[in-house]
């Protein structure tokens, strides 16, 4: 995440089984199979509880792939690093892997 430019941050939600496995692994597989740079973290909740300073490194225009936007925004806020404007939060609890990947990968690369 140590980037000035917009990046992609993927949350693996390591400590709970709240994200459907096919979505969680499906998104990761497609990201790994693409030629995009991305950062994957074990668990954003855990980082928030530790007030991890790296949460401050999400640049405007980045995409955060995790869960409900209200929760993700709250986690960054309570860590003392509110998300900057223009960060898109993609919700793996509600969307399918296809839907999420399609809004990240350049057109035509999401297959």
């Amino acid at each position: 995440m140590a980037r000035q430019n917009p990046g992609i941050l993927y949350c693996y939600c390591k400590f709970a089984r709240i994200i459907p496995n096919e979505v969680k692994t499906g998104v990761l597989e497609r990201l790994a199979g693409s030629d995009l740079d991305f950062d994957a973290v074990p668990d954003l909740c855990e980082m928030s509880a530790r007030k991890d300073p790296r949460l401050a490194e999400v640049a405007p225009g980045s995409k955060v792939i995790a869960c409900y936007p209200r929760a993700v925004q709250g986690l960054f806020h309570s860590a003392g690093h509110p998300l900057p404007a223009g960060v898109e939060i993609l919700n793996m609890r509600a969307g399918t892997a296809d839907e999420i990947v399609q809004s990240i990968l350049p057109a035509g690369a999401a297959a």
């Binding site: 709240i18 597989e29 074990p42 909740c45 869960c67 409900y68 209200r70 929760a71 309570s78």
Partner: protein
């Protein structure tokens, strides 16, 4: 610790590293490789767990395998909804909440929170408390509907009808149990009273049985509730001034 995965490293390797608690920076590059502190590991397809175990052994060196990690379960406040009413501060028996220098409610001791207990989110009249790992909305951060707000308001009313708040419910039931105990010397019945009360509380607020079993004594609860009320009162005054 961040592990760098370059090129087409399989998703299984990345997932195995995440399982072990490593952050993974994936960089597009021609040749696939996994690098830790400048050292490269071969990352053949399908060898996720093996690569992660090797990386882990290298990073840990002689250090023992850490004990099972804490499940990050704690309340997160949606400040767009919170009205700083301090009900959560008054309610929580485990000192999870605190007040900032400007009198603003905040979650201060995340690790004090009882895993899988969402009770304080149910006392919040504004539906402002989230537990991101909770199963259902809106507590999990899903959008709050007008129905949710009405339901939460009703719950607060119900708890008021039951005797002011949950502490007095617990206290009253316990007092009844105590008097019965002294009259009838029926300790089983007294215990049952308390259990019934806890079951009511558990059902109304979704508190897991393990948390109910670990509640402090009624006297401690009363002392804590009083201290929390005072803190809330002071915080309200402070917030009014600032």
């Amino acid at each position: 610790m961040t592990v760098t995965a370059q090129g087409s490293v399989p998703a299984g390797v990345i997932a195995a590293l995440l399982e072990k608690g490593y952050r993974v920076a994936r960089e597009a590059a021609a040749e696939p490789s996994v690098r830790v502190n400048g050292k490269a590991w071969p990352a053949p397809p399908g060898a996720g767990a093996a690569v992660a175990a090797e990386v882990d052994a290298y990073v840990r060196g002689d250090a023992p395998v850490p004990a099972a990690a804490w499940k990050p379960w704690f309340p997160v406040i949606d400040y767009k909804r919170c009205t700083n009413c301090m009900q959560c501060l008054s309610f929580c028996l485990f000192d999870v909440y605190g007040v900032s220098g400007t009198g603003q409610i905040e979650v201060r001791n995340q690790t004090n929170c009882k895993t899988d207990c969402p009770a304080c989110s149910r006392v919040c009249p504004e539906v402002a408390i989230m537990f991101p790992k909770y199963r259902h909305g809106p507590i999990n951060g899903d959008a709050v509907s007008a129905d949710d707000v009405r339901r939460e308001a009703m719950k607060v009313d119900i708890s008021a009808l039951l005797g002011g708040d949950i502490y007095s419910l617990l206290r009253d039931r316990s007092e009844k149990a105590k008097s019965r105990f002294s009259k009838e010397r029926d300790d089983e019945r007294a215990l049952k009273e308390r259990q019934n009360c806890l079951v009511t509380m558990g059902k109304a607020l979704g508190v897991p049985a393990e948390v109910l079993a670990s509640l402090p004594s009624v006297e401690e609860i009363q002392a804590k509730a009083e201290a929390a009320r005072q803190r809330a009162e002071e915080a309200r005054k402070l917030a009014g001034q600032s």
